[in-house]
């Protein structure tokens, strides 16, 4: 045993256990997020519960078991005994009828044997008001009943598809086409203000503007009319009536149906199909109902755009700074101070960067840009308000130390002999750096970028100050020239998690979404990093055996 300690075996064991704790933590975290997040997309069975109310009546509750909690209840006769009574949170849906989606059921009020799988129950996901849980009763089109009972399903399937197609078209016209026209009208308005500011807004310009505006307005009105037609068409698809728990009826317009499924009748294979379909919807759809339903597509676009823009901004800044510091600057007190400052910059809390971004980038820089170039748009700010560019710049500043430090390390690792080889052939110092040293340092630069991406994609606090919003009206990248709108506000997955999880009116319903979004954020960061790591490995391959 003494020998064991003398050899330092216990330290090895300590280190090994520290490693295993870290690994377990990382994988445990990922597993928990993945499990809770992915569970959200599964087609859960729907149960039928018979609940005895205090007055002896029996109430029917139909829904998915959302979660179980043990409630401590004192025994009625002996207050020293405490019973653990399970309570179930049932997702009952039908928010427009019941007022809320969830219902707590105490297991004491429940006749356990009466809990049955609700055969043939249908779950309808709606564009508004959440899910409906009920049994098909009838489907009417123009007041005429077309199908009843089980027949409704096949009819509804076709009609719902039509409804979705119409919804898609309306959405496309509203977002893309009309959004584009709005964009042009706004551009026109700004052009006019620009001319007015220059006192060049004469009769000729006026008539030209008027005619252009008239064309756009006409287009706009026409589009509105066509949307109205589509809406009417969607209305004419009819409506479906379902019986819901408590012998009530609910009528759902078919144009409100996102999709519907009968979880209790589904085979495992169709449930798996449903699972992947749900994930697809989550990734590609816009959020609905104050972000508590639907997808996160705009947040994905916002996150990725911001990170890429940040990368584009931070790379030249960091690399140039590192080159100057390690190749040109003279060793001395100043350089040491700069080094210390850069290293300490990495330790500044991110919210401080957010404040700086708001105070300097948004108000000072953005304000000056507005004064200089967008004075005609006053009092509306263009760049003098939080937006994508400022968020990316703030993030670039936040991640700058990482890039500088790893680039410097990379530069210092290039053997002296290679620099001399270049110089001996008549290259200037600059040529040696650009042609030999810098290409060979690219793997190290990529390492810096990987760390920068990992940090920037996960950061939320500073973004809340410099550009992220709960719900952005338009994507930061679209088909309207110049295609990337640096002044736009954008959505971000990290902020989305915070918003959905803690700012939402419907916490229970949005909780699985928080996990799903967290999982997605992790996946996105990991894939951005993997992309960068793959590039780095290729570069490493090219410049390997560097130190032979």
């Amino acid at each position: 045993m003494r020998n064991w300690f003398n050899k330092g075996e216990h330290w090895i064991w300590f280190s090994a256990s520290a490693v295993s704790v870290s690994v377990v933590l990382v994988f445990g975290l990922l597993a928990m997020i993945a499990y809770k997040g992915l569970l959200h997309f599964w087609a859960h069975d729907v149960y039928d519960y018979q609940v005895t109310l205090p007055n002896g009546q029996i109430e029917q509750v139909v829904g998915e078991l959302h979660k179980t909690k043990l409630k401590l209840v004192k025994d009625e006769n002996d207050s020293t005994i405490v019973h653990e009574v399970p309570e179930y949170l049932i997702k009952t849906g039908n928010r427009d009828i019941y007022g809320i989606d969830f219902k707590w059921v105490n297991s004491r009020d429940l006749n356990e044997e009466s809990v049955t799988i609700a055969d043939n129950i249908t779950v309808i996901e709606r564009y508004q008001w959440g899910n409906v849980y009920g049994y098909f009763e009838s489907l009417t089109v123009n007041g005429e009943t077309i199908a009843t009972g089980a027949d409704v399903q096949s009819v509804l399937k076709d009609l719902a598809e039509e409804g979705n197609a119409l919804h898609e078209r309306i959405h496309h016209i509203e977002k893309t086409v009309m959004g584009g026209i709005n964009y042009k009208i706004e551009a026109l308005r700004l052009d006019q203000k620009k001319l007015e500011a220059k006192d060049a807004y004469d009769a000729q310009a006026q008539s030209s503007f008027e005619s252009q505006r008239a064309v756009l307005n006409k287009e706009f009105v026409e589009l509105q009319a066509s949307i109205q037609v589509l809406h009417d068409e969607a209305d004419a698809l009819g409506e479906v009536t379902l019986t819901i728990a408590g012998n009530q009826k609910i009528t759902v317009k078919i144009k409100q149906v996102v999709r519907f499924w009968q979880p209790n009748n589904m085979s495992l294979i169709s449930k798996v199909g449903f699972f992947f379909g749900s994930i697809g919807n989550f990734l590609t759809e816009d959020p609905r109902e104050a972000n508590t339903e639907g997808g996160v597509f705009p947040a994905i676009v916002g996150t990725v755009t911001m990170v890429l823009l940040m990368t584009i901004l931070v790379t030249p800044m960091g690399v140039l700074a590192a080159i100057y510091m390690s190749e040109y600057a003279k060793e001395g007190l100043v350089l040491r101070l700069v080094r210390i400052s850069i290293n300490n910059l990495a330790g500044v809390p991110s919210i401080v960067f957010g404040i700086f971004g708001l105070g300097f980038f948004v108000y000072v820089l953005g304000g000056s840009i507005d004064d200089l170039f967008y004075g005609y748009a006053a009092p509306n700010p263009v760049f003098g308000t939080p937006g994508l560019l400022w968020a990316a710049l703030t993030m670039a500043l936040l991640t700058l130390p990482v890039v500088i430090v790893s680039t410097q390390e990379g530069l210092s690792r290039i053997p002296r002999s290679l620099r001399e080889g270049g110089l001996a052939l008549g290259a200037t110092k600059f040529e040696t750096i650009t042609r030999i040293v810098l290409p060979m340092a690219t793997p190290a630069i990529m390492t810096g970028l990987i760390l920068a991406i990992a940090r920037a994609a996960g950061e939320v606090a500073p973004l809340m100050l410099v550009g992220v919003v709960k719900l952005a009206p338009a994507l930061p990248v679209d088909f309207n020239a110049p295609f990337i709108h640096l002044e736009n506000k954008f959505m971000h997955l990290g902020f989305h998690i915070y918003d959905v999880g803690f700012q939402s009116p419907n916490v229970e319903a949005s909780q699985p979404l928080v996990y799903a979004t967290s999982l997605l954020l992790v996946v996105i960061i990991v894939s951005l990093n993997l992309g960068a790591i793959m590039i780095r490995n290729r570069l490493r391959e090219r410049y390997k055996s560097l130190g032979n």
Partner: protein, 271 residues
């Protein structure tokens, strides 16, 4: 002591007959300091064109430092200061107005450790040409072939010019570095212990190459290996503690050294 030896060396060099030789480089009263530490003391010598001149001496004697003066590689070290004159074809190398890049194109250098760039074999050889913005494909191809043939490497690599130079063996890499240096057609070629990192067979290949190359270039070689100096060089300079102790034709230096110090060194008594 250094005063003494440098004095004695001067008297020796007067006896060195370079009358039949065309002088490429002339070193006059050359002193070099690393900060306050003197590394070269009053070196005076004339280096003949199209000959191989070897520099021998124990480690730290200043032979590499002297070699690096000819293409001003010592400029890279901030603490270095120099006194005296080095004339390359009667042109002062250390003149303030000297274009150092142009000088280094005239005075090529091969280092102790093979240092090919992590690029293809072809790109390594034509690197110096690309620096001069030569874009003519034909000219590049011809020069690369000429340089690789000159470095006795062409037959080994002609089918894989696009391969990474780092995939070559050590000896091949060193010959590639020589090819790279001669591709820009310098007047002088500085070889700083070019074979010390190579195996005997590669060393032999490089030595044969040096023999060939002296037809076109003035070659200055620093070596630790006295047999090598005896084999490849026409003239040999023995240096000790920053002094040029003895400088004469190789045969004389190795068979009949004038100074005891030289004799002690070449007979392996110290160094």
């Amino acid at each position: 002591m250094s005063e003494l030896t440098s004095f004695s060396m001067n008297s020796e060099s007067d006896k060195l007959s370079l009358e039949n030789e065309d002088i490429a480089i002339e070193v006059k009263d050359w002193n070099l300091y690393y900060g306050s530490k003197q590394a070269l003391t009053g070196v005076n010598m004339k280096l003949p064109r199209n000959r191989v001149t070897a520099f021998i001496g124990p480690s730290g004697c200043g032979k590499s430092t002297l070699l690096r003066c000819f293409n001003r590689m010592n400029d890279l070290i901030d603490s270095v200061s120099v006194e005296g004159t080095i004339l390359l074809d009667d042109e002062d190398v250390y003149l303030k107005t000297m274009d150092v890049s142009a000088l280094r194109r005239r005075v090529g250098m091969v280092f102790q450790k093979p240092n090919p760039f992590p690029k293809s074999i072809f790109e390594n050889v034509c690197y110096g040409l690309r620096l001069q913005n030569i874009k003519n494909k034909q000219l590049l191809n011809e020069t690369v072939e000429w340089a690789l043939r000159g470095a006795n490497l062409w037959d080994e690599v002609k089918d894989r010019l696009d391969e990474n130079a780092l995939s070559l063996s050590g000896g091949q890499q060193q010959r590639l570095c020589i090819a790279r240096a001669i591709a820009i057609k310098p007047e002088v070629l500085l070889l700083d212990e070019p074979t010390s990192a190579l195996d005997p067979i590669s060393t032999l290949a490089v030595e044969e190459l040096i023999f060939e190359l002296k037809k076109e270039f003035t070659i200055l070689i620093v070596t630790h290996n006295m047999q090598q100096a005896a084999r490849v060089s026409d003239y040999t300079a023995f240096m000790y503690m920053g002094d040029l102790v003895e400088y004469t034709d190789t045969d004389t230096l190795f068979t009949n050294p004038k100074l005891k110090q030289t004799e002690d060194y070449i007979s392996g008594r110290y160094g």
